[in-house]
Amino acid sequence: MFTPGADGVNAPVGETDDDLIQLLTPDGERVHHQSYSPRVDHLDRVALEGLYRDMVLVRRFDTEATSLQRHGELGLWPPSLGQEAAQIGSGRAMAPRDYAFPSYRELGVVWTRGVDLRSTLHLFRGEDHGGWDPNEHNCHLYTLVIGSHALHATGYAMGVQRDGDVGTGDPGRDRAVVAYFGDGATAQGDISEALTFASVNDAPVVFFCQNNHWAISEPTQRQSRVPLYHRGRGFGVPSVRVDGNDVLASYAVTAEALERARSGGGPTFIEAVTYRMGAHTTSDDPTRYRTRADEEAWRRRDPIDRLRILLEREGTPPEFFTGLENEAEEFGAEIRDYCHAIPAPPIERIFEDVYATEQAQISSDRAWLTEYLAGFEEAAS
């Protein structure tokens, strides 16, 4: 069984860890786990191909967006490169009625919620602070203030409880919530408070922490001395550590946690051990704080590669892969076209939706700007 850090580079906090759940090794071998393997039994080859496609398209989008940023079409982009398995695995474990609260790097999660990924470009193009309708997809907007949305997720879950949509046993009714955040976020007081509120309320919320080894330039060791999944236990929240580069294991542990949450069993804390293979954002320069060797070691644990090996072994025909390549190519072109065509927002947008109801200060500020701009037009005409 693969042990994070066993190859000696940039070991996750806690070093070797027998508790790590893994169902698929970096070499594409299945691993049997008594309680978690049954959770992926129903995933036949077609389902696995679906997960593979998810990861490939999400990565394609990510690559395209990164390059759009390099070409000046986006102000910024936070690559999800390397974290596809954690995001797709956990996201696909959610049911449509569940609700996701992503951080700002959850491209894969947002994809599983049925959000048109191109909506994510608006934010990073400086054209929108959000980009999609959270309620249409049961997927909240990106939150940029680290950790704060874990409390929103917990509160939402408390709402689900009050709606009576927990523990009814009706799969069309019971729901749960997933809060996504990083290793760095665990240091924020809000994450701890979310664990407290979730625990004492038995709220149906899953805390999905992607430990991608870095909070910008700081390694996880700057945030915690012990493996992050210990954190949940200190708050009475059952906790599990999973290989986040293993899409099957990520799926399985999330599915189990969601089932517990939906049935009234309360929150779970999941630490998904993965690696941010790209820069923190396109503004970042990882050469200042980590080595090529580190990155290489993790490239050998690529979440997509290992599923491909499995698929090939389990009989997926080559046409599937070439077909997917073509699909990805087209997808890339669509993204570029879409991005180029995003119109600049109208000036009025500055004042829109600050309040749900008209507010005098907005009205007078808006009136001032309108008159001021009209003055220019008059002067020009």
């Binding site: 929108d128 602070h129 959000g130 309708d133 959270p134 309620n135 909240h140 907007l141 939150t143 203030v145 704060s148 949305h149 874990a150 409390l151 929103h152 997720a153 917990t154 509160g155 939402y156 879950a157 408390m158 709402g159 689900v160 409880q161 009050r162 709606d163 007081g189 809000d190 408070e193 979310a194 407290t196 509120f197 004492v200 829109e352 939706d353 600050v354 309040y355 749900a356 109801t357 008209e358 507010q359 005098a360 200060q361 907005i362």
Partner: protein, 341 residues
């Protein structure tokens, strides 16, 4: 819910304290809308340290009147989540000085959620904050931090001065689709007045700005005040009357927005303005009012706008609060100054 004990079904006018008026307003709102729920520290069996939520957990249950963990960021943060799920949470912050752990959630999340989502996500959260001094308390229990919230767009900041307004305005706040900071003048919790307990219903249909009211009409000097200072302003008006000065008192009721037209209208009549609040004047709400009125009533002002408020110090020890607070003498002194200018 125990129907028997729900006293707010009574019609007509009752003589009640400001604290009781809020209690009754909360009760009304909870009866009207099952999505309304209360959250905070010690608001359940204890009824809050000021007993404003007295009896509500008994009648509405612990799912709707929630004793939360001792964490203000958690209270407001989970309230935001509850609001996203369709609820209307009313959070109680135990004292003014303890709202700051929730400041990030209020400023970066609550205030901006509607804007960020372009109206897709409404967060009708109300945050009740007992504020102001004059009760002989220890540090952090007497502050007036309203300007620290009003400067941030997306929030509404309102504060009642009378039991009748407290009863109506808490229901307006809860009915508002916008987040509302509801500052309660704690020194006035025990003030009694007649309240028409059916009065709120009509104002709830038109959520939006809470407008200023003329608390007392006058012709020589305008005093604009809010919350606990309205009483002081009214006392000043009474005192000045005996000396032949007619003071108009404007109860602003809202700090975001500030009803500048109402103040301007009065100042165009009186030519003189004194603004009174307990918060430090330096960058307090009075600064905005003075700036705006000095601009908009430039040719009407007979004297500079004067501000009477807290000094640029932390709230002092309670043995000195009488000297610190904008008391009757200081308000009258300012009135004299603008008259003699």
């Amino acid at each position: 819910m125990n129907e028997q004990s729900v006293s707010s079904q009574e019609q007509g006018t009752q003589r009640i304290t400001l604290g009781k008026a809020i209690n009754l307003g909360l009760r009304r709102a909870m009866e009207r809308d099952p999505k309304v729920l209360l959250m905070g520290e010690d608001i359940g069996p204890l009824g809050g340290v000021f007993r404003v939520t007295d009896g509500l957990q008994k009648d509405f249950g612990s799912d709707r009147v929630v004793d939360t963990p001792l964490a203000e960021s958690g209270i407001v943060g989970t309230a935001i989540g509850l609001a996203l799920a369709g609820y209307r949470p009313v959070c109680e912050i135990q004292f003014d000085g303890f709202i700051f752990p929730a400041y990030d959630q209020i400023t970066t999340q609550l205030a901006k959620m509607h804007y960020r989502s372009r109206g897709k996500s409404q967060v009708p959260v109300v945050i009740r904050v007992p504020y102001g001094g004059g009760i002989g308390a220890v540090e952090h229990h007497s502050e007036s931090p309203e300007a620290l919230f009003a400067h941030t767009a997306g929030l509404r900041v309102i504060t009642p001065a009378t039991p009748a307004d407290a009863f109506t305005m808490i229901q307006q706040a809860i009915a508002s689709p916008d987040p509302v900071l509801f500052f309660e003048p704690k020194a006035r919790y025990w003030d009694k007045a007649d309240v028409d307990v059916t009065a709120a219903d009509q104002v709830l249909d038109a959520p939006g700005d809470v407008r200023a009211v003329v608390a007392r009409a006058g012709t020589d000097v305008t005093i604009a005040a809010y919350g606990p200072s309205v009483t002081t302003a009214l006392r000043a008006a009474t005192a000045a009357e005996s000396e032949g000065t007619s003071i108009e008192v404007i109860d602003l009721r809202s700090i975001s927005p500030i009803d500048i037209p109402a103040v301007a209208e009065s100042v165009r009549k009186t030519g003189r303005l004194v603004v009174v609040h307990e918060a430090p004047t330096f960058l307090g709400a009075g600064a905005e009012i003075a700036a705006r009125i000095s601009e908009e009533c430039f040719y009407h002002l007979e004297a500079p706008v004067l501000r009477v408020g807290g000094f640029h110090t932390p709230y002092p020890v309670s043995k000195l609060e009488e000297e610190y607070l904008p008391n009757l003498d200081r308000v009258l002194h300012a009135v004299d100054s603008v008259l003699q200018h």
